[in-house]
Amino acid sequence: MSITHHKHRLATMIFLRIIPVAIFVLVLLWFGTRYFAYKTIEKDLYANLSAQTKQTAMLIERKLDNIKQYAQILASNDLVVNGLIDITARSNYIPTLFQSLIVPEINTAQVVLTDYKGRMIASNFPEQDNYETDPDISYSVIINKVMDGHTHFQIDPGLIIVAVPVNYFHLPEGAIFVYFRSQDLSTVFTKVSYPVDFILIKNERISLAITNEAMNFKVADNEGHFLEKAAASHDSHWIKQQLAIPSYTGLSVVCGLKKEEILQGYKRFEKLILLSMLLALFALTIGVFIASRLATNPLVVFAKGIENVRGTKCFNIRFPEGGAWEVSYLASAFNALFEELISITITKDQLEERVALRTKELEMMQGHLVKKAIEAGRVQLSNMVLHNIGNAVTPLNLQVEGIRENEIGRITSDLQRCYSDLCLNKVSLTDYVSRDKRGVQVFEYMSGLIDELIETSDGQENTVEKIKKTVANVNAMLTLQQMYSGTDPDYKEQTDINDLVTTAIQIQSPEFDKRKIKISEVLSDGMRPVNVNKNQLLQVLLNLLKHRYEAIGYIHKPMSQRKVAIQTYDRKQGIGFEIIDFGGGIDPDTAFHPVETDDSSNGTADLDLYYCKLFVQANDGEIFIDKMIDEKKTRISVWFNTGDSAME
């Protein structure tokens, strides 16, 4: 596929698919954002309205409380209390006092002192209508409530009443009434700065407009109906909220904010969103354009170059570093990477050469060392053998010397002399050997010499026998030396002792069967392999088994004791095996000596034990023999050190 075709295909994909999809997504996003934004704004505004309504309710409550407090303070004034009691006071200072009363912010409010039945005693506007006669006011209800000790607050159409009891000795004896018109109350509230534009105070009987906006709603044919509508929650122009004014039962405030303001805010926000959308689309287009630049020529070049490198494994390729900075940067990075790779390749080759050379050297060294080791072993073994041969030959020499020292010669010589003496007295030989003192001694001496000659002859025969045996031993040593130091290379390998034991038993089992000796094996699981000369170790096993069956066989043990058990161990201290049986025939102190000097059974077996020890020790092992005295058993233990702490 040509690059041009690839570019064309890419452009088609971008402009006919990606961008339309992007536009579609953006439009969808716009509508969604628009919707949720509007909802969020509305929610925030309602939250704000709620807070503002609460604040407004508190302000209104405070204003109403102020009026109540005014009445209460007046009611608790002792001048007023006295005015209830003293007729003279009523005519003296009470009228003057009341005429001077002005309710703060409500100049036209009437303040009236009444007796316990609500009959007026004094007022600040005595000329005004007596509100007691107002038919709309449930006056008897109010005065009864006040005489029960309660403060009364009432909003009626056109009239607002605050009544508080005047107490003497904690008992209500009269009342203070504060009356004022609804518009007066509006005047009070209009002097306060509110956070909302629309405020209505309402209860079940009346709605009182506080703000101009609320008052505007009163402009209608039917004022009451219009106000009710204005107080409703749904309105095309306002969002409104109603909240009860605390501590004024049945009284609530309706606050509102103009929807137009919300919409204004929203419209600004919508324009912002639209602008953001357009910017996003523009950015997308630019981005796609830039990406397309990256996706066409440079990317193809990169792709080809990398494919080539992968195939040829040759990193000598270099990308041109011109053009768009992204491409230049990428090309530079690739070129640096290739140089690094070349360097690594060279290093790798060098390393391989060195490794090969070293390996060769090591192999040579290994062979040399192995030979040396073998040689050393052989030398050592030869030294030992020679030493042992020397040991063996030394008594041989002594014995030969003994023979040479000619004990028989002395006897023969003495016999010669005795014969000569007898020859001198051959005429009267019988009388000489029976009666003559000398003759008797010579004859007895001659008899002794003959006995001694016989004895000596026997001894020499024994000596000859020993010499023969020694020579045989030396021969065996040399044979074994030849056998043990034979053509097998002296190398060690990881050996499974369980396998060797099994093999050794198999080899020796006919001999065991012939002698009616039972052999049992206990092989430990999970035995670690031991690094030993496998053949030698097998030979050790064979020799030991042979030694034991010969020991049991020649000692004539009863059937219950004609048993040999072999057990393998893998312990912390080492890996090995034990052979336990009822056979004797071993002195642990001398078992491993190379020369047997007593009349034990077989000189070859003893020498085998010696060589067993040799090879075990040569493989970093130890061999022990001990007598288990209480059980009358013999135990041969062979252990190979694994490098952990010493054997127990």
Binding site: L84, I85, D86, D115, Y116, F169, E173, G174
Partner: protein
């Protein structure tokens, strides 16, 4: 024959009618039919700051009514006490008097405390022609009112005498610069007049006249003003709540700065002692009284009365425990005086009874031998000779000053 029978029947029938009519007329003229009671109204403070006085008056009246009823009542008709509570409020008092006035078998109303209430009631009393028997309200204008005939009769202190009495007592103790501490009511004004007159007659002036209103709470400045005026004694005309407020304020000063107090009897009409018991021992306080059950003028009558009192009100273990004694004693004597007048009048027509009250020659009452109690021109039964000074002892009982040990 038939005609004669019919004639008899007609006459009998007419006679019955006459009887009924006459009975009705008798009612109208004040005669009480058998089976009804004669009502005596009580219009007093029964629940407010001076409720103790109202209860004391009621008790005195009840004991007297019981004695009279035990003796057959008034021409066989029992007396009954009807109680209304004015709570010290003149408006309530006026309404009470109006309601009493509508009762057809009402003989009289006993009223007290306070002077302002009674003064306010005067119009209603006289409009309703209700005989008003006053055991406890000292304002001079109560009796010295403008009404003729005067329906108010009093066995009580009269301020005209009390003012002079208190001033004299102060001078006897060596005080020469009394401060007049007066409540801003008719009672206070009544005493102001009497006290200033009494001082002036001795060429003396008060160190100052200090007014206070009912319900006053903060009085320290007033006391300081009194001290600044170089007063050596306070002559106080106050009821129990305000009196307690002042005495507590005086006790807050250092002992050397605490002025002695000579008080009118108003403080004994409420819980004055209970409100000041913690500090009262440290205050030099004496007050006006008219009777002491522990030091009576007539011990036999006193003993008999106490026995009756303890019978009706067993909580009063001793004579000391008869609280507000003046009210009880006054009411007791007043009811007996009324009974005499009722008997003499032979009717409950209040005008007739009123006239008879003025004509009683003498009566040996609990407080004194009234000779006579009232006259046409004098409706006050007590004079200054009937006054004593008293104080609270350590247990809160009212005792005459001379008996204080």
């Amino acid at each position: 024959m038939k005609y004669m029978f019919k004639k008899k029947v007609v006459f009998f029938y007419i006679g019955i009618q006459f009887f009924i009519t006459f009975s009705f007329l008798s009612l109208e003229s004040g005669r009480v039919l058998a089976g009804q009671t004669i009502l005596i109204g009580l219009d007093a403070d029964m629940s407010s700051g001076s409720a103790q006085s109202g209860i004391a008056i009621k008790r005195g009246a009840l004991i007297a009514i019981d004695e009279i009823n035990q003796q057959g009542g008034i021409a066989g008709v029992k007396l009954e006490l009807v109680v209304k509570d004015h709570r010290g409020n003149p408006a309530r008092g006026i309404d009470n008097i109006n309601e009493f006035g509508r009762l057809t078998n009402l003989a009289a109303v006993i009223g007290g405390l306070h002077t302002p209430v009674v003064i306010a009631e005067l119009e209603a009393i006289h409009r309703n022609e209700v005989i008003f028997l006053c055991p406890w309200a000292a304002g001079t204008p109560i009796v010295e009112n403008r009404y003729h005939p005067n329906y108010v009769f009093r066995v009580s202190v009269r301020d005209e005498f009390a003012g002079e009495f208190l001033i004299r007592k102060a001078l006897e103790r060596g005080f020469t610069r009394p401060a007049l501490l007066l409540e801003q009511t008719g009672w206070g004004r009544s005493n102001e007049k009497a006290m200033v007159l009494a001082l002036n007659s001795l060429k003396l002036e008060p160190s100052g006249i200090f007014w206070f209103n009912w319900g006053i709470k903060s009085v320290t400045k007033t006391i300081q003003s009194i001290k600044k005026a170089d007063s050596d004694v306070i002559i106080m005309v106050a009821n129990a709540p305000e009196g307690a407020t002042f005495v507590k304020a005086i006790s807050s000063f250092p002992e050397k700065d605490q002025l002695p107090v000579i008080s009118h009897w108003g403080i004994t009409g409420g819980n004055f002692y209970q409100d000041t018991r913690e500090i009262i021992d440290g205050i030099d306080l004496q007050f006006l009284q008219t009777y002491s059950f522990s030091a009576p003028v007539f011990s036999d009558r006193n003993k008999k009365f106490i026995a009756q009192y303890q019978h009706f009100f067993p909580s009063a273990v001793s004579d000391f425990e008869i609280f507000s004694p003046a009210g009880t004693a006054h009411a007791y004597d007043l009811v007996h005086l009324l009974a005499i007048a009722l008997k003499r009048a032979g009717t409950i027509n209040r005008n007739a009874v009123r006239n008879e009250l003025e004509k009683i020659d003498e009566y040996n009452g609990l407080i004194k031998d009234y000779k006579p109690p009232f006259t046409e021109s004098r409706h006050d039964a007590l004079t200054e000779q009937d006054f004593i000074m008293a104080r609270y002892n350590a247990k809160g009982y009212i005792v005459p000053v001379r008996e204080d040990k």
